[in-house]
Subunit: 571 residues, 2 copies
Amino acid sequence: MEYARLFLPTMKETPSDAEVVSHKLMFRAGMIRKVATGIYTYLPLGLRALRKVETIIREEMDGAGAQEILMPMVQPSDLWIESGRWDYYGKELLRLKDRNERGYCLGPTHEEIVTDLVRKEVRSYRDLPLVLYQVQTKFRDEIRPRFGVMRAREFIMKDAYSFDRDDAAALESYEKMYQAYTRIFSRCGLEFKAVEADTGSIGGSASHEFMVLAETGEDLLLSCNRCAYAANMEKAASRLPEADVSETQKEATLEKVHTPGRKHVQEVAEFLKAQPRDLIKTMIFATDKGLVAGLIRGDLEINPLKLKNIFGANFIELAGDEEVRKLTGAEVGFAGPIGLDIPMIADISVAPLRDAICGANETDYHLCHVMTKRDIAAVATGDIRLAKAGERCPRCERGILEEFRGIEVGHIFKLGTKYSDALGAVFLDGNGKEQPCVMGCYGIGVGRTVAAAIEQNHDEHGIIFPVAIAPFQVEILPLQTKKPEVMACARRLYDALRVKGIDVLLDNRDGRPGVKFKDADLIGIPCRVTVGRRFLSDGEVEIKDRKTGEVVEIPEAEAIREIEDRLKALA
Amino acid sequence: MEYARLFLPTMKETPSDAEVVSHKLMFRAGMIRKVATGIYTYLPLGLRALRKVETIIREEMDGAGAQEILMPMVQPSDLWIESGRWDYYGKELLRLKDRNERGYCLGPTHEEIVTDLVRKEVRSYRDLPLVLYQVQTKFRDEIRPRFGVMRAREFIMKDAYSFDRDDAAALESYEKMYQAYTRIFSRCGLEFKAVEADTGSIGGSASHEFMVLAETGEDLLLSCNRCAYAANMEKAASRLPEADVSETQKEATLEKVHTPGRKHVQEVAEFLKAQPRDLIKTMIFATDKGLVAGLIRGDLEINPLKLKNIFGANFIELAGDEEVRKLTGAEVGFAGPIGLDIPMIADISVAPLRDAICGANETDYHLCHVMTKRDIAAVATGDIRLAKAGERCPRCERGILEEFRGIEVGHIFKLGTKYSDALGAVFLDGNGKEQPCVMGCYGIGVGRTVAAAIEQNHDEHGIIFPVAIAPFQVEILPLQTKKPEVMACARRLYDALRVKGIDVLLDNRDGRPGVKFKDADLIGIPCRVTVGRRFLSDGEVEIKDRKTGEVVEIPEAEAIREIEDRLKALA
C-alpha cells in the first residue's frame, strides 16, 4: 500500500476521554475513530490489525475442528425468555421493538441462538461432538464504556459453542479449545496467562480467562511461581495464612463488653488488647436472594464473588448502612453472627477459633470468648477469602502466589446443560434415550486483543506491533522523495517484498523526514527500511527493528533477504 | 472438508413461508436457517458461498482504489437528525434507546456515519479522491420481509462511499465503481445487466442498478436490443408511440357531454365513438407534498415514480376514492384537468392533442373538443409515461425495448452534495476556498447475490453453483465406503486437490449412494467425482459436470488434470 493514498489520519493530540495507552495510540495512529459512546469505526490501519487476528483465530478454530457459521445480531426475545436470561441479564442487554412491537435484543452473546439451532438440527449422538463458531458484532450496553475498543459497547467477538454427549466428551472439547486459544494468542505474539475465573452471567461450572499481561491491565491475577496454578483475583484461592494461634485462646463463657465507638477490626483489637486475627469479622451483603452474611477472621478479607457463588446469587454488593442498621439493630461496625437471622457462610479461617471477638448486634458492644464450634456451630463453612500475592499456592507444596495485571482477551466456559436443559437441546444416545447436550462456550474479543497487544507492546513513541498482527510488516521510508534514484530503490524493495506476500507500506508522501519517522514510530510497523543519503553515497539502505531500535545498514541487494530473516526471527 | 464432520443438515421439505426457489434451496441445502422473521443464521455451506462473494468484492474494490473500513451497526440519532433523514426514513429505520435514553438506530445504510468521518478527517483537495467501503451487517425493518435472505431484515452489505472535489472527478469515481461492479458480477459467474434506476430514499441525481437476470426476478427491466440502453421499469423511457393522429382532430369549442356510468377510458371512447388515444386520462395521486395530478393520453399509462421525482416528493400512491371525490366534486372516473386546482404535469403525449376528451369533474360528464394548447396551457409538460416492451428505444434510432426480469444485487448512486451539504463535509480547494465534497455511494447485497445466483442457476434437483462462488468446487463421492481401495482413491484425490488449493468436499458418510447423489445435486457443487464399481474393475473414476450433466470416465491418474481443466473452463 502506498502511504500517500492510504486513509491514515495520524494525530498528535489524544481525545480527552482516552484513559489508557491503547486507546490513545489507536486514535493517534489513525486506527479508530469514535462515533458515539463506546461505538467506533475502524479505519484501514485498525481494520488490517483486526483482520490479522481474525485470520489467526479462524485458522486455529478450523484446525481444532470447529465450523464457522454466522448468527444474527438482532435476536428475538422469545429465546431469551425461554432461557430465563431476559429478566436476569439487566441493562447491558439492549432491548428493542420492531415495527410490529415484537421484542428483540441486540445480541451480547449467542448461547440462546446457537442452542435453538442445535435443538432443531441435531438428532443423534452421531451428530456430536459439534463445535460452531462465528466472528460477529456484539452489543453490550455497558454502564461505563471506556478504554476505546477495549470496553466498547459494539464490538467484534469470536464466539464458539461446543455440544457433546457427556461430561467427559465436553471436557475434551473444552481442552481442545484451551489448546486452540493458547495457540491463537501465542501466534498473535502476546505474553499471556490462562487463569481460572468466575463464570459470571454466562454461567456454568468452571471457566478460564486468557489474560494478556500488561502493567496497565484492569484485572488482577495470581499465579504460582512454581506450578501451573493461576487464577483471576476474583476466583483465586491460597493456603490459609497460619495465625500463630495465641496461647491464650481458651474456652470461656461468652461475655458482652462495651467498645464505645470502636467499629474497625484494628480499633476493636487494640481496645480489647487482642490481635486482629482474634476477631470474627461479619460482613453483610445485599444479593438478589436477599441479605446474606460472610464471616472471616479479622486479619483477612472476604471475596464477595466467592460468597455470591456459594449462595447461587446473580449479583452481590455490600449492604447499605440503613439495611445493616435495620437488620442488626446496631450501627455499622457492630454486626456479629450470634442472633443474626440471615443466611451466613463462615470462611475456613473462622472454624478453629476458640476465644474470638465479634460484634454484639448492639451499638458500642462486642462479644468476647466466642467459640466457633460452640456459638456459631450452625453456620456453614466455605472458602470465601480473598487470596493475596505472597500467600502460598493452594495446589503445590512450596509455591508462592505472585500478582500480575492482565487484560482479559478470551474466556472459555464449561456450561454443562444450563442452556440445553432450558431450551431442550437433546439428542438420542446409543440406547435411543434422550439426553441433553453438554455444552461449552468460548469467546475472544477481537478488537480487545488488538488493544491488549498495544497495551503490552508500546513505548513513548508509539505502538510496537507484534509481526503477526501488524497492519503492515514492513514500512519503506524513502527520505529524498525528489531524487529518482531513491524512489526507484524504494519502489524496487516495495515490489520485491509484495511479490513475496509481505504486507508492506511505502511512505511515498512528500514531506519532512522528521514527520515520516514520527509517523512510522507511532503506527509501529515492526521493520522499517530507510532509503536516504547513505543509499546515494554507498548504495546502502538502513533496516531498523521497531522494538529493539537495532539498526543495520546493508547494500540494497541484501536487503530483501535480511528483512525476511528478521521477520522470521520476530514471528 | 469431510462431509461426515460437516454441519450440513440437508432437508427434503421446504419451509411453508418459502415463496421463491432460492429460499427453498438455501434452506434445503442447509445453507441458512431462520431465527425470526427476516433474520437468518448462515450455516457453514451458506457462509462459504457468502465469503467467496465477499472475497471477490474486496479484491475488486481494493483494485479500484477503495479502502476498507468498518463502521458500526448502531448509529446515533444526532447524525440522522442532522442529515434530515431521521423523520423522513419511515419505519424501515429501526430506532432504539440505550440505557441512558439516548436515541440510536440500526444502520440501514451509512451515508451519515461516513460523511461525519470524512468531515472530521478530510481537510484539503489533496486528500481526495477518497473511496471508503465496508462489508457489514445492516438492518432494515422491512414491512414484508420475504424470499429468505433475498429480502431479509438483517443482511450483509458491501457499501462504498466516494468523495471527490468536483462533479467531473465524482463521475470518474462513479465510472470506476461501475467497472468494478461489472467485474465483480462477471467474476461471480452471473448473467446481469446494469440499468438506469430511480434513486429512492438514498437520493442523488442518477443511479444504476445491477440486475442478475432470472425469470423469477421481482424487478422488470427494459433493455434495447440494439444499443446499451437499459433501465428499471420504474425509470425506463421510450419513444412516444405515435398515435396515427385522427384526421378528425380539429379545433372546436369545449362541450360538456353526458356519459352516464362511463368511467374507464375504453368505455368513454366507445360511448363517444372515439379512440382511447383521443382521451386525456387524469390520475390523482397522494404524495407527501399533497395531492397532485398526472395527465396522459388515454392509450398510455402513467409511471407514478416519474411523477414523484418531478414533484420532488418522497412517496406517491394513487389517491383514495374519497380524496378524489372531495377534490373534484365527482365520482372517480370523471376527473379532468380543467378547473382542477392542484399541481399537475401533462405527459409529452398530451401536448399535441387538439380535439380530446377529458373528465368534467362532474359525475357522469366529460368534456369534448379539449385542445391542450388552449385549454390546459398552464400545465407543465414532462415524461411521466410508463415505457413498455416493444416500444422504441429512447437512445438509438432503430432499437426496440425488450423486457427482462431481474434481481437487484447492486445499486450505485451519484449523490452529489446532498449529504456533504447537510453535514458540512467540506475541503479546501486549490484556492483555499471551502467546497462541499461531491459524493457517490455504492451498494452490493452480499447474501442477495448468493440467492440471486441460485435463482439464476438451478434445476429441479437443486442448486448449480457458478464455480467462483461455490462453497466447494469439487465433491468426491466414494460409493462403496466399506471398500478400502475405494476410500483410498477418494482420499488420494481429496488430498491432491487440496494441495492445489481447490476447495473440495469428500462425502465420506456411510449411507446409500442414492442419498449421496441427491445431496450432491442439491448442494450444487460444480464438479462431482464418483469413485465406484468402475474404479474397482478398471481403475476409472467418473467426473460429472453439475450444470451440463456431462460425464466422463477416466483413469484415476488423469483425474486431477481433468478436474483442473474443467474448473478453468467453468470459471
